[in-house]
């Protein structure tokens, strides 16, 4: 087990913009979080809070016209002997350059939300798996095929020799996601970014995939960055949690603290809005008032202030709060906890 306090992936003040004709969308507005080696970080937030954009910024695969405007992404690369080596700032690399391309897939892998459209419809699964392997490992085609078959077996796909020759439309949703995971892990990455990996699946398959991810994490000893809007998945999988709202991190803590000791009003509201089995019949479902602001219409001051039950006039609509430590390992970005 690697040293947990050593830096593995540190994102500091990441700012990502999308300059469009109608205006610039600030997708990530100064987000900071850490991933520890071998541990799982869960990033949770509503649609549009910037979690996917942040993840894609790490891998530098932003859709045009996205661009990283500010911030650092410090990542500890693997050295030649396979051990953890030096730390580099990924924002300084050319997105299309050799360095970044060798990291992509080789050291940091990405699993996408929609496995159907994330596989090419005109190439076999085997072709796409082997391509990933051949890109990062120095093996022959025959060896690559062996590795691919082995990966398919590890993710629990039966009859891999048949599947490897099939196309993505011939596999069921669950099998496709497993194949996607196989492809991601085929080069033994040290970090796996899973972007809503189970959102497109039914609940039973969801449970299976999550269990698979947990087992693979133990087997491969890799870190996982799990992006989701589902607090249940977070509770099950994450060691540490980061809550994002409108491009900023509002709270960051170990998973138990988030669930039992939430500090930020948004986190509290999220937890309250989970329907409970024990609630009485005809009890109204709690929800957060208002809706997410339009990206061109961001509120002044704290981004959450129009919907915040703890809104303090004169403070919350004027300045922006900073991420401060409230307890060890527990940070909140809220005026309720600032200024000492």
């Amino acid at each position: 087990m690697s040293n947990q306090t050593e830096e593995f992936l540190s994102v500091r003040n990441l700012v990502t913009h999308f300059p469009l004709d109608e205006g610039t969308v600030v997708a990530v507005d100064g987000a900071s979080f850490d991933v520890q080696a071998g541990m799982t970080l869960g990033i949770v937030g509503e649609s549009g809070c910037g979690k996917s954009v942040a993840a894609r910024s790490i891998l530098r695969i932003l859709d045009k016209p996205g661009v990283i405007v500010d911030g650092e992404i410090r990542f500890r690369r693997r050295s030649a002997n396979g051990e953890l080596g030096e730390v580099v700032d990924l924002t300084t690399y050319d997105a299309d350059g050799d360095e970044m391309r060798s990291i992509r897939g080789g050291e940091i892998a990405y699993v996408f939300q929609e496995p159907m459209t994330s596989f090419s419809p005109v190439h076999t699964i085997g072709n796409q798996l082997m391509e990933a392997i051949l890109l990062h490992r120095n093996v022959s085609k025959k060896e690559a095929e062996e590795i691919a078959l082995d990966m398919l077996r590890q993710v629990g796909i039966p009859l891999p020799e048949e599947r490897i020759r099939q196309y993505s439309f011939e596999l069921s949703g669950g099998l496709r996601q497993r194949a996607m995971i196989a492809m991601a892990l085929s080069c033994n990455p040290s970090l796996l970014i899973a972007d809503e990996p189970t959102t497109a699946l039914d609940v039973t398959t969801q449970a299976q995939i999550l269990e698979l991810l947990q087992n693979l994490q133990k087997d491969f000893g890799m870190a996982v960055m799990l992006i989701t809007h589902d607090l249940g998945v977070i509770a099950e999988m994450a060691d540490n949690v980061v809550v994002m709202y409108l491009g900023k991190v509002v709270e960051s803590a170990p998973v138990d603290d988030i669930f039992h000791n939430p500090k930020h009003p948004y986190t509290k509201a999220l937890l309250e809005s989970i329907p409970r089995v024990q609630s009485g019949s005809r009890e109204k479902l709690a929800s957060i008032t208002g809706s997410i602001p339009h990206p061109y219409d961001r509120p002044t001051g704290c981004a959450f202030n129009p919907r915040c039950p703890a809104f303090m006039e004169g403070t919350c609509d004027v300045g922006e709060p900073e991420l401060t430590n409230v307890e060890s390992n527990h940070q909140v970005s809220c005026f309720l906890f600032q200024g000492g």
Partner: protein
């Protein structure tokens, strides 16, 4: 896959049948029949045919039988290569057509090659570098290519060639080569003359193909599997050519088959303008002179040739597109 081939083959046969019927109907369209036109022609040179001879001729050609019988007679002799007699040339139609049909096919084929060779790189470039200067330039040229009818383009080019180069750039062979038998030298001569009319023909088709390819590529470039490929660490060039291009090309493949009839149609008119020894000018002359056996045969042969070409391209499509292969196996 086999089922697909058989279905396409049946459809092709049905189409050939339809073409032959339509061609024969065209033969029959002008008022009067073959014999009365023949008699009129003879009259102008002073010969006269009496009633019994005329009746015999009619019986011989089956002209007093109903339409289906005549059709059957025509088709059965056509299959054996006897397409009837050309009024104008007073020779069997087959002889008159000669190698023109093959030259028409060569023209169409080279045009298809040009179309694809030009359209694919430009289409991909336009999509990948959307809104760049190059994209706008190509889009504009593409629109011009679509708008200018190919025979006008041919006319304009001929004009410039005539006025500024003092050359007649029509024709498919150099003067010395026309009567030579086919050999490597003649084929080379043909190619050096073929490129210009092929290019003119290809212009409209290329413009169309570029637009479709660009639109398809733009759609595909936004799709998640492209991001997956990038996330694997694949280089940008490979990402574009291996994935979205393959997918974007699929709908194009199915249009290749229909490119052929359009090209053959276009070649008719361009050939007329540029005086090429293909089927076009001959068809026009025969229609204007009401030399119906010649005209009808040309129409049928063009139709058959096109259907065969379309069938071959369908086979190619089935071979390339895995979805058809898998679904029908």
């Amino acid at each position: 896959m086999l089922g697909f081939i058989i279905r396409r083959l049946l459809l092709s046969l049905l189409t050939i049948f339809a073409v032959s019927v339509i061609s024969f109907a065209i033969i029959q369209l002008p008022p009067g029949d073959y014999v009365s036109t023949y008699i009129a022609q003879l009259l102008t040179s002073g010969e006269v045919i009496d009633e019994t001879e005329a009746a015999n001729l009619r019986a011989q050609y089956g002209l007093d039988s109903p339409f289906p019988v005549q059709y059957y007679k025509w088709v059965s002799s056509a299959i054996q290569g006897d397409f009837g007699l050309s009024m104008e040339y007073q020779r069997p139609v087959g002889d008159v057509i000669g190698d023109r049909l093959a030259l028409t096919a060569a023209l169409a084929f080279v045009s298809i090659v040009f179309t694809w060779v030009l359209a694919i790189p430009i289409g991909v470039y336009s999509a990948v570098k959307q809104y760049s200067v190059g994209d706008y330039v190509f889009t504009f040229i593409g629109f011009l290519g679509l708008a200018i009818p190919n025979f006008l383009l041919a006319l304009v080019l001929l004009y410039f060639g005539f006025v500024y180069l003092d050359a007649n750039i029509g024709g498919l062979f150099s003067p010395g080569m026309v009567d030579q038998p086919y050999g490597p030298a003649k084929v080379w001569d043909l190619l050096t003359h073929l490129w210009l009319p092929s290019l003119i023909l290809a212009v409209a088709g290329t413009a169309q193909l570029i637009r479709v390819l660009r639109a398809n590529m733009l759609d595909e470039l936004r799709k998640p599997y492209v991001v997956t490929a990038r996330a694997k660490g694949l280089g940008e060039w490979r990402v574009v050519t291996k994935y979205p291009l393959r997918v974007a090309m699929n709908p194009l493949m199915s249009t290749v088959g229909y490119l052929l009839p359009l090209l053959v149609s276009g070649s008719i008119i361009v050939s007329i303008v540029m005086s090429l020894p293909t089927v076009g000018p001959m068809l026009l002359r025969s229609l204007l002179a009401q030399d119906m056996f010649l005209a009808g045969t040309i129409i049928m042969l063009i139709g058959v040739m096109t259907v065969i070409g379309t069938f071959i391209s369908d086979l190619l499509l089935a071979w390339i597109d895995p979805r058809i292969r898998v679904e029908n196996s």
